[in-house]
Symmetry: D2
Subunit: 281 residues, 4 copies
């Protein structure tokens, strides 16, 4: 496994997309040296966007969390979440009525931002079921899996409405050894028992890369290959970046450990353009 | 859709396997006329076995439930459950130690019957995790999906132990319109996020049919085609029966409605030898 | 199933995306009345793009085929194929070296247009295998499935290179009753035996819709909901259009028959904004 | 990875099931020392059965091939193939009429042995299509994949008949570095494009183990745990043996290399009771 220094890879590009979890921070807090890395990118004058599969909090709340953790200088408007993509779906389709959701009160902000009325899955009833126009999976927290997943299954059997998965990740780490089932893993249970697929947002889907690219083009002229996607996960960050046609760098500070990297790249056929130990390297 | 009277189909066979849910009873209670149908089978002197994908209760408890519902004459030893198959796995493999399980106290009886020590998933801890030798999915009730599914995922990431699914059904009906996610649907979530398949018992798997057949051969000589499997579900009862080489009859009192039957048979390619409106027909 | 006249649906929009097969033509030739429908769109002054999952021929050749069939007025530069998307992948990633492909000589044009050197799968040998930098599935014709699929499997086991599927469709109709396995069905065999997923282009993937949208924005200002995607297939045209946030109309002249439409919409949860009998309606 | 000598593992059991490919022989010929290993089993007086996922040749032909390769003393009636299971399906169901098949002339012997009339897939025509009562996938050779897979797809779309896969393996090795797509991989293409599952025989399915066990019980009294299944493949030999409740030993002379064994066992959760370098060890 040949690795390169992140600084040398940066030099070949004109803009950066960073994944958040596993690149900027992990279950332990900030990745060591990340502040210096961000400062270095700023120094080079390169535009930066954070692309994260997260619909549990709005970009504003995520920017605040970075600051709370001690990382300064990432603006809310530089953060693009998979929740934003789901919000844009609602806006574009002009769906009317109530939007049922699985998630926390915080995650429902995406629905309110799109000017729709959120309805927590636990509040779906005979009285309002006919007014629901979509179901969204926003977070793995904030609802009772036993009761509310059964409710979601029956809602989708009764009503011909779209179901949207605002974060397709299956798992997320909660400590050095333990993981939790993420929104995408829960949605897959419902898809599986119903035998149908939902509308998924988040990396590796092209839509999030495209949105980032469109926002980048408002501040300058960039070809796709001028952009570097930096991520810790082959099947989201790297696959999505490769497919969208931008450069990709795998870092080894998250889901992909230095020991596994080579085997995983070979097994999955998802090949990053570069491998770096860390963005602080 | 050409249907035949169940009595005329019975005449061509010498033994009967009945599915329980959708054939003998449903969410409303007993299927009308089922007592007469069972009595008729007895009158013909045909041996009968109930083959059910159920690991939530022992055969003894299920026999009692039939009687409580007002159906008489089905003996506990005529009932073969997918839980029995899981129990036999434990006995045959001679697995030692504690068996972690997801399910109710009632379902844990299968573990105790195999002379093993059940450990409810919620009680798995750093102190006992190294003594666990298998994980079994027994029922969809009796545990907290949010907490305990995450526990099951992490247990299987930490320990190299077999995972057994004692009921592979994805859904079960709870009222005329509503369903619940069944044990198999929950297990599939864990299989999916871990990217591995577990050991599954229950129809359509051959093992349950074989076990029923072996028990039948203790009371008489039967060729496979002498046996009639009666079920309401194409991909469990009928597929399993077809594959095992016994006769199959689909009844329209459960999962497969008279309106859908023809379309579903064509779409799935799972073709019953006979279609009957009901076992009371 | 309530249908609307295509003309009345058109009026609510400012631009049109048309699928080709099942909308403009089918195995029998042109859909009756399609010339009038295209002329009507021109009369309204609405920009039109054809979005087709096809990598067997270049847009130039497809435009010629429309004219040969007797349909006039669709320009090559109005045709966007999934092959174009694959070509752009090669251009964007700046992949060097030989590109191995499965398909006809015609389909290899996409590789030459990207300024790469195509190598037919049958010509892969010990001498050139180390110079191959990607494998592309372009067409279901032009190679020997027995020999060349085995060759593709072994190439991907030996070399850590990306594999690209330029048309993800599983089947295509060849007569009123018969279908052929399409490129996506063949690629899935290889993905399945290798246990890895490839990079897929074509509807329902967002990338093709985005590319169409970007080209549209060069000729005028359009919001997504101003655009109408017209297609005959729920899981490509309609799902992709819905996800991208544009309007969708299902026509019943191709994969989805008038008899099945309602059932399929309910079963898949893919809900078009409108259903029209035909674009000539 | 702790390995044990095969002889010491044998001592704990009373009967042996051996996989063929990867255990007895491989692409290079006989595994070194296999004759001595078979002779040793004979000396101990242990009954032996060969359980192989192979429907390309009858047990008689396979016994002859062992002898041709220089291995003596394995009788045709000790060989149980997945083709035998498919043959028994036909016999048990008493299917009448012509049986269409994909495979070589040799493989069609299973159909003739069941007293049915084989019809090579290439000979299916408008004249005989209505007389076909089942389709069987027997071998990956003996037919034209381009033409005949399309024919199989259209046959199954037209006729409501069962489809049987007599060997579910996805790949088989043809040299030290190369593999070929096997019958199961080809059948999966057809299942995938049609969206339905077929009836599969062969390990890990219980039916083959059961058949071997039943034949064993005719020559003596054996509990399941008295039997040792020896195989080189985790997801067929070992998974199937574990599920059926017999002892399992993984050998490292075939699909599972000494380097990968530990990682694969952990990744798949399929845990053999023993690991041996070779049956000659």
């Amino acid at each position: 496994m040949r690795t390169r220094s992140f600084k040398s890879v940066l030099k070949k590009h004109k803009a950066v997309f960073l994944d958040s979890y596993g690149v900027i921070k992990n279950h332990d807090g900030l990745i060591p040296g990340v502040q210096e890395a961000i400062d270095h990118i700023r120094l080079l004058g390169m535009p930066l966007r954070v692309l994260t599969n997260d619909a549990s909090r709005s970009p504003d709340m995520l920017a605040e969390k970075f600051a709370d953790a001690g990382l300064y200088g990432i603006l809310a408007k530089e953060i693009i979440t998979s929740g934003t993509m789901a919000r844009k779906y609602l806006e574009n389709k002009g769906v009317k009525g109530k939007i049922a959701y699985l998630g926390t009160e915080n995650s429902a902000q995406y629905i309110r931002d799109a000017k729709f009325e959120p309805l927590h899955i636990s509040e779906v009833s005979e009285q309002n079921i006919d007014k629901i126009t979509a179901l969204i999976f926003l977070d793995d927290e904030g609802f009772d899996w036993n009761k509310d997943l059964n409710k979601a299954v029956n809602l989708l059997r009764r009503r011909k409405i779209p179901a949207i998965v605002a974060n397709s990740d299956a798992l997320y780490p909660v400590s050095a050894n333990n993981v939790n089932v993420a929104t995408g893993g829960i949605a897959a249970l419902v898809e599986n028992v119903l035998g149908r697929g939902f509308i998924h947002y988040g990396k590796p889907d092209s839509q999030m890369f495209m949105y980032g690219y469109e926002r980048l083009k408002k501040v300058g002229r960039y070809r796709r290959r001028d952009i570097l996607m930096v991520g810790d996960t082959l099947h989201t960050d790297i696959l999505g970046g490769n497919k969208f046609g931008i450069s990709t760098a795998l870092v080894l500070t998250g889901n992909t450990s230095p020991e596994q990297a080579d085997t995983l790249i070979k097994a999955t056929g998802v090949i990053p353009d570069y491998v770096c130990r860390s963005i602080a390297d």
